[in-house]
């Protein structure tokens, strides 16, 4: 009698176990905002899968049980609506150019400064990183100082139009990171720049 009861309990356990999987995990690769889709590798208890197409998906009911397939965009939006709605604004970067050997912006770059300020005013808790660069005319220490001065100049402009100074980080990289590689002492306007990243 006791054995029957134990068997029945075991059968019930198995039944419940089968009817309700331990997990309902879902991993989905999304198309990138830039049109490129990356890839995601999944490793569950030694079982592997690679997702490399838009909306490729893997379901895991138990560790080691990996079921690959695809879902629709609508299914993805439904299952992850709140998480997707909470995505922060995408970071943006801008490049401003300078007149040779000076910390003065070109006229075109002055206009971009206005766009940056607009974008900053839309963002919650904005952070700004301003990195100055030079071309290879002049000695390294001179260019280090000039690149920092250019970055500080842009910071001052941002502060002047109301951006809080403690939100702005300023760095000078001198001639070390040219956009366009050149031999030493070659003037190159495209390297006389300040890169601004906002997020």
């Amino acid at each position: 009698m006791r054995r029957h009861a134990a068997l029945a309990a075991l059968a019930l356990l198995l039944l419940v176990g089968c009817a309700r999987p331990a997990r309902d995990d879902l991993y989905v690769l999304m198309p990138g905002a830039d049109g490129k889709t990356g890839a995601l590798t999944v490793d569950s208890a030694g079982k592997q899968a690679v997702l490399d197409q838009p909306y490729a998906a893997v379901r895991v009911k138990e560790p080691g049980q990996v079921a690959a397939g695809t879902i629709t965009e609508q299914e993805a939006r439904q299952a992850f609506g709140a998480a997707l709605a909470a995505q922060p604004d995408r970071p943006l970067s801008f490049t401003l150019y300078f007149l040779e050997a000076r910390d003065e912006l070109t006229p075109d770059s002055r206009q971009i400064l206005g766009r940056i300020v607009d974008e900053l005013s839309r963002r919650p808790a904005p952070e700004i990183v301003v990195i100055g660069h030079t071309d290879r005319v002049g000695a390294v220490p001179y260019n280090d100082a000039l690149s920092l001065r250019r970055a500080e100049r842009v910071r001052d402009e941002l502060v002047k139009v109301g951006v809080a100074p403690d939100r702005i980080r300023v760095e000078g990289r001198g001639e070390r990171e040219p956009l366009v590689p050149t031999p030493d002492e070659v003037p190159e306007p495209r390297n006389r720049r300040v890169e601004i990243s906002i997020r």
């Binding site: 995990d25 989905v28 990356g38 995601l40 208890a45 895991v60 990996v66 970071p91 808790a125």
Partner: protein, 155 residues
Amino acid sequence: MARSRLVLTAMILTAALTGPLPAPLHAQEAGHVKVTRGTVQIERAGQKTPAAVGAVVQAGDVVATGPDGSVGITFLDNSLLSAGPNSVLAIDRFAFDPTTHQGGFESSLRSGTLAVVSGKLAKQSPDAMKVKTPAAVLGVRGTEFLVRTGDPKKD
């Protein structure tokens, strides 16, 4: 040029050998909260505090949302992580060199939903970013993906 670089390297080495380097500013900072809805808490060293927009997120933090909650965080390497309701997200490790873009970012979604846009770390090195769940380890080879994990019996 090469000589100046050599001098600089020598100076750095000398500084490293002769005394402690000053701690980098905001050494512990991994990211900032940019979006919150409903209940969102950050647990740090056993203490839970409500997360407001602008709050700092550090490695070691556990971010949790309530049934009405969601949260969006931007990390220093431009990775974006956002979680839906009833989610528990642990920031296990975050290291990022803004000059070389090297480092590592490991997080664990213990339950709930997560949307990820990977940043400069994943772009620099395919092994730099991992997201774990109780059932799997996800290796990030760039861009955007979604993760749901949890025990359906609890829902």
